[in-house]
């Protein structure tokens, strides 16, 4: 499925694994792809940061989103005394949300008539779902979908 991915996009997918590992996640999910797009020194990462979705802002928003979501059921992360995630070297597989985002990346490019799948297509794909961790995290970060869509489109 990665044949049509541009090299830059493949690097983002590789980076997503690092993001998942750093957070102690058992699988690569859509939010790790979002973090990977925001990491590094690409023009797209810079415009994401300008829109309020820089890498560190997203990490913070993920924490806030988790705390808020757990609070709904009366659970507090701090009561578990968990150690900081120990970054594993094990190869992580893609979770459903990441698989769907990668599939959607192809569809986004096809709809636009673009041949190569660029990081901007991936960002547009990540903005499609109305529910799930990514839209929630962006809302907690105070980032509008529109601002990121503009950043993504400008990068293509």
């Amino acid at each position: 499925m990665f044949e049509r991915f541009a090299k830059a996009t493949r690097l983002v997918v590789e980076q997503a694994q690092e993001e998942a590992r750093a957070l102690g996640a058992p699988r690569i999910e859509a939010e790790h792809l979002l973090l990977a797009l925001a990491a590094g020194h690409t023009p797209l990462a810079a415009s994401m940061a300008a829109a309020g979705a820089g890498h560190d802002e997203i990490v913070d928003a993920l924490d806030i989103e988790t705390a808020a979501a757990l609070d709904v059921v009366g659970v507090s992360l701090s009561s578990f005394g968990l150690p900081a995630p120990a970054g594993t070297l094990a190869k992580l597989s893609f979770g459903t949300s990441a698989k769907q985002a990668l599939e959607l990346t192809l569809r986004v490019a096809l709809e636009r008539g673009d041949k190569r799948l660029l990081p901007g297509h991936l960002l547009l794909a990540l903005l499609r779902p109305r529910f799930g961790t990514v839209p929630r995290v962006l809302a907690f970060a105070g980032v509008t979908e529109e601002a990121l869509r503009l950043a993504a489109t400008a990068s293509l």
């Binding site: 996640a25 988790t66 808020a68 979501a69 757990l70 059921v73 594993t88 094990a90 799930g132 961790t133």
Partner: protein, 68 residues
């Protein structure tokens, strides 16, 4: 989200809570298994305690724990 009200959370909030609980459960499991193995528990004992097969627990944790 107010403690005064006993009304259930919205479906959106409840579903997000489920996702967050699963993520939390994974992290609690990782930590608990690591500590059990460090305390000398066998994979079989850990599997029994978790109510899963030995193969499942080994597949999920062995490689990760070998690194540390």
């Amino acid at each position: 989200m107010d403690t005064a009200a006993k009304s259930p959370p919205s479906p959106a909030d409840a579903l997000a809570a489920v996702v967050a609980l699963r993520r939390l459960a994974d992290r609690v499991e990782d930590d608990a298994v690591r500590r059990a193995v460090a305390d000398g528990w066998s994979w079989g004992e850990v599997a029994e305690a978790l109510g899963v097969t030995k193969q499942a627990v080994h597949k999920k944790h062995a490689k990760r724990l070998k690194e540390t």
